[in-house]
Assembly symmetry: C2
Homo-oligomer: 140 residues x 2
């Protein structure tokens, strides 16, 4: 559950998608040109976002991508979860379990890591694309 370049790229690309779309699909090349992003990499990220139904796509010429949900219903948690398959396993389970150096599962620390995970996930879930985009527009 890390915020990395990948997360940053996806947020930039999704924001650009929303800002550039007027109901018509926006092409990957337009998104990446406007946001200065590596197109082949973002293509891969968008395929993951599509699998989780955050965006939809239209094939062929004049095709492109569209957001599949209202901007108030797409959170940072949703995005990160789509990009990172075992996002939710990254805490105690990912840290300790199945390791030679684990003291048993669940150990005395299990609930600590779980509480932290839940707290941070809830926070990330409270940050919607809507707020991210309105922040951007305030600046202009």
């Amino acid at each position: 559950m890390q915020i990395t370049t990948k997360t940053g790229y996806a947020v930039r690309a999704l924001s650009e998608l929303v800002l550039s779309s007027d109901g018509k699909p926006v092409s990957m090349s337009e998104i990446c040109r406007k946001q200065n992003l590596p197109i082949k990499y973002i293509e891969q990220l968008f395929r993951k976002l599509k699998k989780k139904e955050i965006i939809k796509s239209i094939h062929g010429s004049r095709g492109g991508y569209l957001l599949n949900k209202p901007i108030s219903e797409v959170s940072l948690k949703d995005i990160m979860h789509a990009l990172d398959d075992d996002f939710s396993n990254k805490f105690c389970y990912g840290i300790n379990a199945h390791s030679e150096y684990c003291t048993g599962f669940p150990c005395g620390f299990y609930e600590l890591w779980d509480d932290i995970k839940n707290f941070i996930e809830d926070y990330l879930d409270s940050i919607k694309l809507e707020q991210i985009i309105s922040r951007l527009q305030e600046k202009k």
Copy 2:
């Protein structure tokens, strides 16, 4: 700013240090035996914790480690910060800046990442060793 095995190990080792200490130093071998941790790895982590004055050490035979602060004054943030040098740079600066695919620094997303970083860091700073240890003891 990730919670990884490293963080988990450090928390286990520090908790064991606190629980095993009755004013006298606790040796690395005792800590690692009781918590089933890889000793040479934990040694390295403890050296970093010492640099940040979270623990202190006594050399030679009958030596070992002691906590250098009250358990109410050592937070998860402190521990993670000690283990990971550029902990605080891991957000926008680490994500975007100085990359070929950055749109300028600070970009429109800078404050978003910064706010998130601060929120999570404040939360991690609110979790003290004191609470972690009393959680452990409740279970017994």
